[in-house]
């Protein structure tokens, strides 16, 4: 039985229930035990019209990347769906309303644009919805029913999902929606009985943790909550706003406090103040907001105050492309701001890592008394993956602060130079350790000092702290066949998913290719990376930015120039693009 791997899209106009239909597909298929990775796109502007597309990659194997092509298109608005037709695979299926309210000229017709091998399933969505529910509102559910029937997906997977989704709207709405779904199923079974697809093969049910559909943003918020987040200060910005919205409800429930501030500078200010006084605090922003925060972030580095900042990257520069994905803030995250102010930067690659690395960021910030930046991107933040409900590590809430010795009181030096670089930290309220933290260069006692030797020593101490942090940072992970390889591909953030899939494909073909995942962007594990590189002839670094920012950072570790695959389309990098590049580098041809 070949492994199932299909991408299903629902495309419509805002108001067609596109997103709801996509969500039900995700929920239903996930209930059946299949892995789901879904990424929706919304109209860019807030007003009510514009194209909505949901894309769900469904199959037996867990996926962390999306390809460009689509196998099934459910069109709730043909005019919008026309733009999706070029991405249909050869043997695709298209569901559309075959009784539109008015006649449709050839140039606007979906049926006129598809390839002959595409199976068309025309159903009167509107009429069936009207019959089943009295209005055309359930059109999307009729379409869903058609899809379920043709792909022979048991109704038991979708109907409970429909009930769950519309429960809050009342029993009548639930029943009417279920009727619409069933009407779609009945029509399709009858009309398309000779053209049904091979049934989707669902794996046998197995015991295990509950599977949930979780987005990157939600995972970050949940990770923060489970790490004992106490204060959140934030400012609305796409794509980080959902984190603030999620926490606004739940943080107070857990005894914490959330406040929307007047700008991003106030947000990071609040976070630093909160952590200074000993409470786990966080803010989430995107490129433009992050830029505003950089001065205070360097203050955190200089004054050795912890902070956790989520930078949900989007298209840049400046206001850039608010609803598109990119990985172009690496430089800013690592180096942004005045002076030698490098700080910890980590980058999750999938939804579970969003959860766990957020927890880790608090532990690192607290222990190493430094701002920790978690780099995500629009794709990772907004996509949903079907994952086991994440469980916090035992020490998620553990206080990692290195406190001063009780008998160090009178002679307490807040910025004492130590071997690890970590100086024991007293918190305001603790008697006997009074000190002032400053953004000026300072002595061990914390008083402003600009003398040459002091500045050298203190700078060195702060960097030593970073090196010490390496042992607590997640190491690079290799996915490499044994021995030497012809090509090693490095990826970070959500793009590693595409790298991994492309490299797997190359290995299946018998090519000697390896992959390396970096989640610790700064400091990075020089030795491990060098070791990987030494076993590769060529190194390719694939990322969604123009220059190759990770390549700029670690490329020098390779004995020759690293190759770069850079893309700034605003869309995730399809694995096939990386795969083609791999072939090109190795001098192979696409078979």
């Amino acid at each position: 039985m070949p492994k199932l791997d299909i991408t299903v899209e629902v495309c419509g106009m805002a108001g067609d229930g596109t997103i709801a239909a996509g969500g039900l597909i995700n929920e239903g298929m996930s209930r059946g035990g299949l892995s789901v990775l879904a990424f929706d796109s919304y109209p860019a502007e807030i007003r009510g019209f514009g194209r909505c597309v949901t894309r769900s990659r469904i199959g037996h194997e867990r996926r962390t990347a999306l390809e460009e092509h689509t196998h099934v298109l459910i069109s709730l608005n043909d005019e919008q769906s026309l733009s999706r037709v070029p991405f249909l695979t050869e043997h695709s299926a298209v569901f559309f309303d075959n009784q539109p309210p008015t006649l449709v000229p050839e140039e606007s017709s979906l049926a006129a644009h598809v390839e002959p091998a595409t199976a068309l399933f025309g159903m009167p969505f509107t009429d069936l919805a009207a019959q089943a529910a009295g209005s055309d509102r359930g059109r999307n559910l009729v379409a869903l029913g058609g899809f379920a029937a043709v792909f022979q997906v048991p109704s038991e997977l979708f109907e409970p999902a429909i009930v769950k989704k519309f429960k809050s709207k009342g029993q009548k709405v639930v029943e009417s929606n279920v009727r619409c779904f069933q009407a779609g199923v009945a029509y399709a079974l009858e009309r398309f009985s000779e053209r049904l697809w091979d049934p989707v093969s669902f794996p046998p049910p197995k015991e295990g943790p509950e599977i949930v559909m979780l987005s990157g943003n939600t995972a970050i918020a949940e990770g923060a909550l489970d790490a004992g987040l106490h204060l959140y200060f934030g400012y609305p910005i796409t794509p980080a706003t959902p984190i603030m919205e999620y926490l606004a409800k739940r943080l107070p429930e857990r005894g914490g406090r959330l406040m929307q501030m007047e700008d991003e500078i106030a947000s990071i200010g609040g976070v630093l103040g909160g952590f200074f006084a000993g409470k786990r605090s966080m803010t989430a922003t995107s490129g433009p907001g992050f830029a505003l925060m950089t001065e205070l972030i360097t203050h955190g580095v200089m004054s050795e105050t912890p902070a956790v900042i989520i930078n949900a990257q989007r298209g840049g520069p400046a206001t850039g492309l608010p609803t598109k994905t990119e990985q172009s803030d690496l430089h800013a995250a690592v180096f942004g701001g005045p002076g030698d102010s490098a700080r910890i930067v980590i980058a999750p690659t999938d939804v579970p890592e969003c959860y766990h690395l957020t927890i880790k960021s608090f532990q690192l910030a607290e222990k190493y008394q430094i701002p920790v930046i978690v780099l995500t991107d629009f794709f990772l933040d907004n996509r949903v993956e079907s994952v086991p409900l994440p469980v916090a590590e035992d020490d998620a809430r553990k206080d990692m602060t290195v406190y001063p010795d009780p008998d160090a009181k009178e002679r307490y030096r807040r910025f004492k130079i130590t071997e690890s670089g970590i100086s024991p930290r007293a918190l305001p309220g603790m008697e006997g350790y009074i000190f002032a933290a400053t953004g000026l260069e300072h002595t061990e006692k914390g008083l402003p000092d600009y003398t040459p030797e002091n500045h050298s020593k203190m700078t060195e101490k702060r960097y030593r702290k970073l090196r010490s942090a390496l042992e607590d940072l997640p190491s690079p992970v290799e996915h490499t066949p044994r021995g030497r390889v012809d090509l090693g591909v490095i990826g970070w953030g959500s793009n590693f998913g595409s790298v991994h899939e492309a490299v797997n494909r190359a290995c299946e073909r018998g090519l000697k290719v390896g992959a390396l995942k970096l989640t610790a962007i700064y400091p990075y594990h020089e030795d491990a990376i060098r070791d990987f590189m030494s076993r590769c002839d060529e190194i390719l670094i694939a990322e969604l930015n123009f220059e190759g920012q990770l390549a700029n950072l670690v490329g020098h570790l390779h004995r020759k120039e690293v190759l770069r695959l850079n893309r700034v389309t605003g869309l995730p990098m399809p694995p096939s693009v990386i795969y083609k590049k791999i072939l090109e580098i190795l001098g192979e041809t696409d078979s």
């Binding site: 000229p105 017709s109 390839e115 091998a117």
Partner: protein, 343 residues
């Protein structure tokens, strides 16, 4: 030498995906590299050779060999192929056609190549749901599925296809009964001797021929068992097939203004009477000046020839359609299919 019209915004539409339609499309493309050409077919199947279906049922040729062209062919020749989409009306004055899903398509030239569908004679219409016909790929697959479960078959009628199917059934080791009807060799009317010869030959092959008998009743016992009364004989079979020739598939044109009898009436250049609208293949009834009457084409070669002529004439030529005189060899049974007088 006729000059080919300059075409750039032209849109030539061909309804039908059989031999006539495909030849028409190819001819148009060869003559006019620039024009937009669309083929629309109600069937979901790509171009296949219907006369190979009996061999497919017999298992002597694999499925992929029944097909006549790969989709690549249409891409190469830039012919837009629209499968599984049904034309429900044509407006010749506005020069557009309406598809079942409420789409309108404008055309500057139209070729009707919709072929025929199996005919069920009036007396048997009441049993229609119990009878299997044999025309399309889909039909052939149904036969294969049913034949896995039954051992005996009754063939009623006796057109050319029935003979080929009988051959296939015998190859599969099925028990075959045959109710030969006199007018069942339609569209060919044979001399009685030929008719008897056919019956004789069939019997020699092991077929039980109920000559001249009429089918009185068919009753379904279960999905794979039918009780049949033919004249005074009653027996049971697993499957009943009806083979009464084809009628042109032109019901959707009923209100279009075209003259339709048995098929679409066209002059000897295959023109329907409307400018830029031609018919070719099994669906056309072609006027012949010599006999001063209409003839209907049957067979693959005729369809291809008419398809080509219709295309050329659409482009401004004035070729006359001539039926091809052929002899079909069917297990020692010769049938002359050259032009004939109907009705």
């Amino acid at each position: 030498m006729k000059k080919v019209r300059a075409m750039h915004d032209e849109h030539f539409v061909i309804i039908g995906n059989g031999p006539a339609g495909n030849q028409a499309a190819l001819t148009l493309r060869q003559k006019v590299p620039e024009a937009r050409i669309t083929m629309i077919s109600a069937e979901h199947e790509r171009f296949y050779r219907p006369h190979l279906l009996p061999d497919f049922v017999a298992g002597t040729i694999p499925e992929n060999e029944v097909y006549a062209a790969a989709l690549e062919h249409y891409r190469t020749h830039r012919i837009k192929l629209r499968l599984g989409q049904r034309v429900v009306a044509v407006d010749f004055s506005k020069r557009n056609l309406l598809l079942e899903h409420k789409e309108t398509v404008r055309f500057s030239g139209l070729i009707l190549a919709v072929g025929g569908k199996p005919r069920i004679p009036e007396p048997l219409l009441v049993f229609r749901d119990l009878l299997l016909t044999f025309k399309t790929f889909s039909d052939a697959r149904k036969w294969i599925e049913r034949l896995h479960r039954v051992d005996s078959v009754l063939i009623v009628g006796g057109d050319l296809t029935s003979l080929a199917v009988t051959k296939a059934l015998l190859r599969l080791g099925k028990e075959v009964r045959f109710v030969l009807n006199e007018d069942a060799f339609r569209p060919v009317r044979c001399k009685p001797e030929v008719f008897q010869e056919a019956a004789h030959r069939l019997s020699l092959q092991g077929v039980k021929v109920l000559e001249g008998r009429k089918l009185r009743s068919v009753t379904r016992i279960n999905e794979d068992l039918f009780e049949v009364t033919a004249d005074r004989e009653r027996f049971r079979v697993g499957l009943v097939g009806a083979f009464f020739g084809l009628v042109p598939h032109v019901r959707f044109l009923a209100r279009s203004g075209l003259t339709i009898e048995r098929g679409v009436l066209v002059d000897e250049t295959l023109n329907t009477g409307f400018e830029g609208v031609y018919a070719a293949g099994d669906c056309a009834q072609v006027y012949h000046t010599h006999i001063r009457d209409y003839w209907v084409s049957i067979g693959h070669d005729n369809a291809v020839s008419l398809g080509r002529i219709a295309a050329l004439n659409l482009l401004g030529e004035k070729m006359k359609a001539e039926p091809k005189g052929e002899t079909i060899l069917c297990d020692d049974v010769r049938v002359n299919t050259s032009w004939w007088r109907d009705f």
